[in-house]
């Protein structure tokens, strides 16, 4: 049973077709990497999958809950790190305080942020903020975790810490869908990769097959990353 199934999704903005006819499934425990040039529709696809955008047509079927890690973190600046993580489990899921706090502390430890419980987002580096936002998403115990270019807003030296965290989650068989520009990372972490171009899924398959594909568009796209 797929956790997520999207069928024939179409989406236009002001007459420009961004998603032309997208169908995909996400299976339990898999890591799906979505790559492709800017404007290919990757982010829009993710926003449709997470209900932030309404597709013009097509069907989306979920079997479970999802979380989303944003490019710009979108932490709540007026809440401490701890409150950012615990507020939704307490207020939305109405779970017990002791249990929520204990889980939040475990998540912070896992993210290497145990000493930042009482800090506010503005006091953290971008990489730390992104790790908090991953912890915040995980605290809701989602079945799928979506990442929308999680390292794009970070300095190169901070990118690694986020990628390590995501790799750690992959080892625990967290189901994840990751839109990324980090090609090597996508190759390493994904069980399956989708290459998008101009609103279509151009190539889909195992990382080695996608990266080794003779498809002209993907070769052109990957070529840009190989150039120094």
């Amino acid at each position: 049973m797929s956790l997520l199934e999207m069928r024939n999704i179409k989406k236009s903005f002001d007459g420009t077709e961004v998603l032309k006819d997208i169908s995909l499934t996400v299976e339990k425990g898999e890591v799906l990497g979505i790559i492709g040039p800017s404007g290919s529709g990757k982010s829009t696809l993710l926003r449709c999958a997470t209900d932030l955008e309404k597709p013009d047509s097509g069907e989306i079927h979920y079997d479970g809950t999802f979380g989303l890690v944003f490019q710009n973190f979108n932490l709540f600046p007026h809440y401490s790190v701890m409150k950012n993580i615990t507020d939704a489990p307490l207020r939305v899921q109405k779970r017990k305080k002791d249990e929520v706090y204990q889980e939040a502390r475990e998540l912070l430890a896992k993210m290497g942020l145990s000493d930042k419980e009482q800090a506010y987002p503005y006091q953290l580096s971008g990489g730390q903020q992104q790790r908090v936002s991953i912890a915040r998403a995980l605290a809701m115990n989602p079945d799928i975790l979506f990442f929308d270019e999680p390292t794009s807003a970070l300095d190169p030296e901070l990118t690694g810490e986020i990628l390590r965290v995501i790799k750690g989650l992959a080892m625990e068989h967290m189901t994840m869908v990751i839109v990324t520009h980090e090609m090597n990372f996508a190759k390493q972490v994904s069980d399956r990769i989708i290459f998008m171009d101009q609103g279509y899924i151009e190539v889909e398959g195992k990382p080695e097959d996608v990266f080794g594909s003779s498809n002209a568009r993907i070769q052109e796209f990957l070529g840009k990353f190989r150039e120094p």
Partner: protein
Amino acid sequence: MAISVMLGKLAEGMWVSVAIFAVTLVFSLPLGLLVSFGRMSKNIVIRTIVKVYISIMRGTPLMLQLIAINFGPYYGLGIPNTPGWKNMAVAIGFVLNYAAYFAEIYRGGIESMPQGQYEAAKILGYSRGQTFFRIILPQVIKRILPSVTNETITLVKDTSLAFTIGVMEMFTVAKALTASQTSLLPLVFAGVFYYVFNFIVAFVMERIEKKLNYYR
């Protein structure tokens, strides 16, 4: 007239001024929030009505609005004026006027909030009410505080406009005393009163701003 008697009369007026100030703030701050919702409503009828209301409140003198509310029911509808009506008229006039200004301040603050805050809240499953009151409004308050302080300081001085319909607030009393005693002293006292009042307002608002400085 002894200065102590003069001060006694001024003190009575002072409490009326403070009451106008307090009633206006207590009612116009929440009403302004409601009005700002109307101003941002997707329903064009609601939005247009609220727009016209704000436009009239901001586009005509408060003095004129007070006169209209005070005398309107009698001259317009033939309803006899009761003795207490002018106090009510002052309260209604000030609250309606200030709600319009506060509504625009709220709107500016709400519209300046990044979309990502709403999206993060939505993904986490917050209801619309939770999103607004837990995530958006606290941040909006911090952003609009300097504008609210400005408006509040203006309000302190505007309370003197109640004299147009004969409510015995500070300024009305001071002017009457100045005329009857042929002395400028009451007006000097009035000036000191408004200044001290606003000094306190500015101090309190600054404290609140500092308190909200725990985050950026």
